[in-house]
Each structure stands twice: as structure tokens, then as C-alpha cells.
């Protein structure tokens, strides 16, 4: 199944455009996913994540642009692409009349694996569905159906696996299980494409993140690179009394972005030694001495909200410019 490839990219997307009726969903989406890595497409509800997945998995056709999976074009070589992929959609697409075991065997038969029964048994064990394996799905909880859904997409070991919001609606334990599954897939050389609304999920799992907003990829890179685009980590300061807090706030505001939360001050800082020294010297000069202090590196949340903020500013400016 695994061939020698011309490029290192399992997925290549160039200038993808897609709209429904009058609503434009994807304006100009481009990104690549390196073979054997996890790519997380991050975005708010309605940002076009599912549309992107649907195009990559041959369910819908783009209005413009190209996309390839393992070097097969998703439009012109759809049946070749289907041999390369497996998909877990946002809603558990399982056969409710069949049992879990039968659902898995069905997948095995459709993927023409040599021993569907044995593969089904292995996955039932792995996804903790053994006890309920031969009960009709009508008796299953939502979480169990979701686990089965994911197990079904692992039948046949497709080299590229798509998960559309795989952990939405899962309890913490199932979510941790899902993360483990994704890591195992990648260890075995599988390429994983996932969409998520959860920043911590992208941060933990993804080798590369693309942030989808307004129909475009507004930022992409490794989690570290994305965080590196922000200079603003936080320094958290506590003081002995109220007077010191308010004096410190006034003093530091001249140079820094300062927020007060209860009796603490949160000071934006790039966390470099120079800036820290400068900060404490300034406090000391004013006779202030923090009782506690700690630093926090920027999180992906900060990156995400900053990007959305910048976007909004740009849109405003564009509108402003248009008005003139």
C-alpha cells in the first residue's frame, strides 16, 4: 500500500475556493501536510473546517484551486484518493441496526482486508467495546458510538486519516484515549489531519497548525513558532498591600500593558532577562517590592485571540478605507 512518493507532503492544498449559493466559505486556502505528521486545522464554528475536510475526502468538489492526497487529485482521481484515506466525520456515522462487531466487520469487508473478524476483535478490545460488542447499537451511549466510529475508520490502516472534531462531546477519559490513538497512528507512520476548536488539543497533538479564519489560513506553523510570533508572555506580580498594588500599576503602566486581576498584576512582557531586570529596577526605585512573582510563556490561546483581533482590525480598516 505504501509507495515511494515524489514529495514529502501527504496533503497539498493550493488556493482552494468554495462557496454555497451566495455564501463564500473558503476564499483562498493553501497549506501542506508533511507525511507522517499531525496537522491540526484550527478555527471557530463555521470557519470552513468541515468544508475543507469534505473537499479533501472527495465528498464535495471545490469551486477553484487544487488539492491532492498522497499525490492523487481529490477531484480527478477521487477513487484513488479513497484508497489512501479514512474519515471520521463530526457525527458518528455508524449503522444503528448492526452490532459494534458487525459494523467493524462490514468496514473490513468493504476495505477488502484479509481477516475482517480478527481486525474487528482487535479494535473492539483496543477501544474498550468488548463487553457491548454483540449488542445492537441502540443500547449504546454517545461516547461508545463515537469510539466505535473512530475504531471503524482505523480498519484497513489507511495511510492518511482525517478526524473532524474528534473529541467534541467526549468525556475527559475518552478524550485522552483519542489523543493516545492519534499518537499511535503517527508513530506507525500514518498522516493525521484533524480539525478542532480546542487550542490545547492542537497544542498537544499537532506538529503543524493552520488557523482558518474568514476563509483563509491566517497563520500556520508549529505550536512553538506560532507562540514565538507573540512577544507577550505574562509576568504575574503580588504585593503586600493595596496601596502597593495600585502604585505599581501606575508605575508599570508607563512602559507595559498591565492588567489587574483581584490583588494581582498581570504584566505583558517578552520574558527576556533585560526586560525583567528593568521591571524590577523600576519597582525598586519606587520603593515597591513584590511578595510573589511568576512568569507565564504565551499560550496558543493568546496567539489565537491575537490573530482574530488583528483580523478584526484589518477588516475595520478596510471598511474604513472603502468608505473614503
Amino acid at each position: 500500500m505504501r509507495n515511494t512518493y515524489k514529495t514529502m507532503n501527504a496533503i497539498e492544498v493550493h488556493n482552494l475556493v468554495k462557496g454555497y449559493k451566495d455564501v463564500s466559505v473558503l476564499h483562498d486556502v493553501s497549506f501542506t501536510v508533511t507525511r507522517g505528521t499531525v496537522f491540526a486545522l484550527l478555527g471557530a464554528n463555521g470557519s470552513g473546517k468541515t468544508t475543507t475536510i469534505n473537499i479533501l475526502t472527495t465528498l464535495i468538489k471545490p469551486d477553484g484551486g487544487t488539492a491532492t492526497v498522497n499525490e492523487f487529485d481529490v477531484g480527478e482521481q477521487a477513487s484513488k484518493v479513497r484508497e489512501q484515506i479514512s474519515v471520521t466525520g463530526q457525527f458518528a456515522a455508524v449503522d444503528h441496526v448492526l452490532t459494534a462487531r458487525e459494523n467493524l466487520i462490514l468496514m473490513g469487508e468493504l476495505r477488502h482486508v484479509t481477516d475482517p473478524k480478527q481486525i474487528a476483535a482487535g479494535l473492539l478490545e483496543k477501544f474498550d467495546l468488548n463487553e457491548a460488542a454483540d449488542r445492537p447499537l441502540a443500547t449504546y451511549s454517545g461516547g461508545m458510538r463515537r469510539r466505535l466510529d473512530i475504531a471503524m475508520s482505523l480498519v484497513g490502516d489507511a495511510p492518511v486519516v482525517f478526524f473532524d472534531e474528534p473529541t467534541t462531546g467526549l468525556d475527559p477519559q475518552s478524550r485522552a484515549g483519542m489523543w493516545r490513538t492519534i499518537r499511535e497512528l503517527v508513530e506507525n507512520g500514518t498522516t493525521v489531519f484533524l480539525t478542532t476548536q480546542y487550542l490545547d488539543e492542537a497544542d498537544r497533538l499537532a506538529d503543524t497548525i493552520g488557523i482558518l479564519h474568514g476563509g483563509r489560513i491566517v497563520a500556520s506553523g508549529t505550536p512553538a513558532e506560532l507562540k514565538g510570533t507573540l512577544s507577550t508572555g505574562l509576568v504575574e506580580l503580588e504585593f503586600g498591600d493595596e496601596q502597593q498594588v495600585s502604585t505599581a500599576q501606575r508605575v508599570l503602566s508607563a512602559q507595559h500593558d498591565v492588567r489587574r486581576v483581584d490583588s494581582k498584576l498581570l504584566v505583558a512582557s517578552d520574558g527576556t532577562v533585560g526586560e525583567m531586570v528593568d521591571l524590577f529596577v523600576r519597582l525598586k526605585d519606587n520603593g515597591l517590592e513584590p511578595t510573589e512573582f511568576s512568569t507565564q510563556p504565551p499560550t496558543l490561546d493568546d496567539v489565537f485571540f491575537k490573530i482574530l483581533d488583528d483580523e478584526k482590525h484589518e477588516e475595520k480598516e478596510e471598511r474604513h478605507a472603502d468608505a473614503h
Binding site: 454555497y20 469534505n54 468538489k61 484508497e83 479514512s86 456515522a93 468496514m107
Partner: protein, 258 residues
């Protein structure tokens, strides 16, 4: 070859659905059997005088069998629509599965289960006095004609099932087919109808099918209407097959986009 194995896999799945929900078979059988009893024991006294030398129960059994088929095939439309709503079709569409196999599998299982329903209805008809005078070869012809009819109308049902927005809507179209059975020589000879209605009744597709079945059951020969019957069923099969497959491709895309 792959298309055949995929179709077989899908047919097995679909048959499981049928055997797991015996209530659907009972619902399908309830109306034809109820009508059979109603016509034989209640209306038969009055209507039966118009069928000449033929016993009324012998006269109506072909119509009752067709009615069984028409209510049975709606199940294929409902199943297909459910699969669309639950995203199962989308899943199949992202897999290396022959697109036609999803529909063909459903059609095969529908044919098998509806032939079985017809068998049960014939048993009930025999119990209430149906006395066919036919030989094994004519029975075989009848089974063949029925299988073809079921196959053709199942594809038609799936075409409507794919167009339907809801699962409930998917099953509704079979009422039109049921109406066609009443405006045909199924239960009364067409001579007794108003001239304009008679014109329709004598030229609609159900009529040659019913006449051929009647001829096979009573005389043991296919009779003169066999060619019209075959032309209609094969025509419906061909058109429905093409239309259903093309809608399948399109509709699955729309469902995915929602």
C-alpha cells in the same frame, strides 16, 4: 469483480436490517392480507358477480400480490433515506467502494425479502380458497416476473428515497403506486369503469403485469400481455437505475455539504 463483492457485502448488511426488524415485514403484509380478507369475505359477494366464470379470490390474488410488492419496496426508500441522514452514506462515499454497490445491495435484498412476502401472501390466499391451476414452469415464470417487477420498482423507490428530504417522506411515494393498483383490473374488471378511466386503466403499466400474472396463475400460460409487461418493467428498471444512480452521486454531495 470488486463491484460484485461490494454489492454482496451491502446486500448482506441490508438483509440483516430486514431480518432484525420483523415488524416491518408484518406491517408490509398487514394491508394486502387485510384487503384480501376484506375483498373475499366482505366485498366479494357483490363484486364477485362481475368476474364471470373466474372465482373472485382467484381474480384478485394477482392484485393482492402486487399490492404486497408496492408496500414492501417503500422500505428500501426509507432505509436509504435513513442512511443518508445518519451519515452512513457519506462514510461509504469516502471509502474505496463501488458507488453503485450501495444501491444494488439494497435492491438485491429488497428483491429477496419482497419475494418472501409474496410467498406468504400466496399461502394466505391458498388458505382462503385461492385455487391456481398452473404448472411448475408457470410458477417459475411468475416468480421471474415478480422478481423483475420488485427490482424495477425498488430502483424507482430508491430514486424517490434519495430525493426525499426526510425519512417519512421517503416512504410516502408508494401510495401513488398503490392507487395505480386500484385503477387497474386488479379488483374489478375494467369494463365496469367510466370510459375515460377505463382508457387509463387499460394502458397503465400495472395492467399488463396483472393480466400476465392472472394468466400464469389461472391458465398456466403467460398470455398476450407478457410483452407489454416485460417492456414496462424493463423500461422502469432501466430509467430508475440510471436516475437513482445519478441522484445518488449528487445527493450524497449535498448531504455532505450540510
Amino acid at each position: 469483480m470488486q463491484t460484485l463483492t461490494d454489492t454482496w457485502t451491502m446486500a448482506k448488511r441490508s438483509l440483516r436490517h430486514t431480518t432484525r426488524s420483523p415488524d416491518t415485514i408484518i406491517t408490509v403484509l398487514l394491508m394486502p392480507i387485510g384487503l384480501l380478507l376484506l375483498f373475499v369475505y366482505v366485498f366479494g359477494g357483490a363484486l364477485g358477480t362481475q368476474t364471470g366464470s373466474i372465482d373472485y379470490v382467484d381474480f384478485i390474488t394477482p392484485g393482492v400480490i402486487i399490492m404486497t410488492v408496492m408496500s414492501g419496496i417503500a422500505y428500501a426508500a426509507v432505509r436509504l433515506s435513513t442512511d443518508l441522514q445518519q451519515g452512513v452514506i457519506s462514510r461509504f462515499r469516502t471509502m474505496p467502494v463501488a458507488p453503485s454497490s450501495v444501491l444494488s445491495g439494497q435492491a438485491l435484498s429488497s428483491t429477496a425479502s419482497n419475494l418472501f412476502s409474496c410467498f406468504l401472501v400466496i399461502m394466505v390466499a391458498l388458505a382462503v380458497g385461492f385455487r391456481p391451476t398452473t404448472d411448475p414452469l408457470a410458477w417459475l415464470c411468475l416468480a421471474g416476473l415478480l422478481a423483475l417487477l420488485i427490482l424495477a420498482t425498488t430502483w424507482l423507490a430508491m430514486f424517490f428515497g434519495l430525493l426525499a428530504k426526510t425519512v417519512e417522506g421517503a416512504g410516502a411515494f408508494s401510495y401513488i403506486l398503490l392507487l395505480l393498483i386500484f385503477i387497474s383490473p386488479s379488483f374489478v374488471p375494467t369494463d365496469s369503469m367510466k370510459p375515460w378511466l377505463r382508457g387509463f386503466a387499460e394502458h397503465q403499466p400495472m395492467t399488463p403485469i396483472i393480466e400476465t400474472m392472472r394468466s400464469l396463475l389461472i391458465d398456466g400460460t403467460p398470455g398476450p400481455d407478457i410483452w407489454a409487461a416485460l417492456a414496462w418493467t424493463l423500461g422502469i428498471l432501466l430509467i430508475s437505475y440510471t436516475a437513482a444512480l445519478s441522484v445518488y452521486r449528487h445527493r450524497a454531495l449535498v448531504a455532505a455539504a450540510q
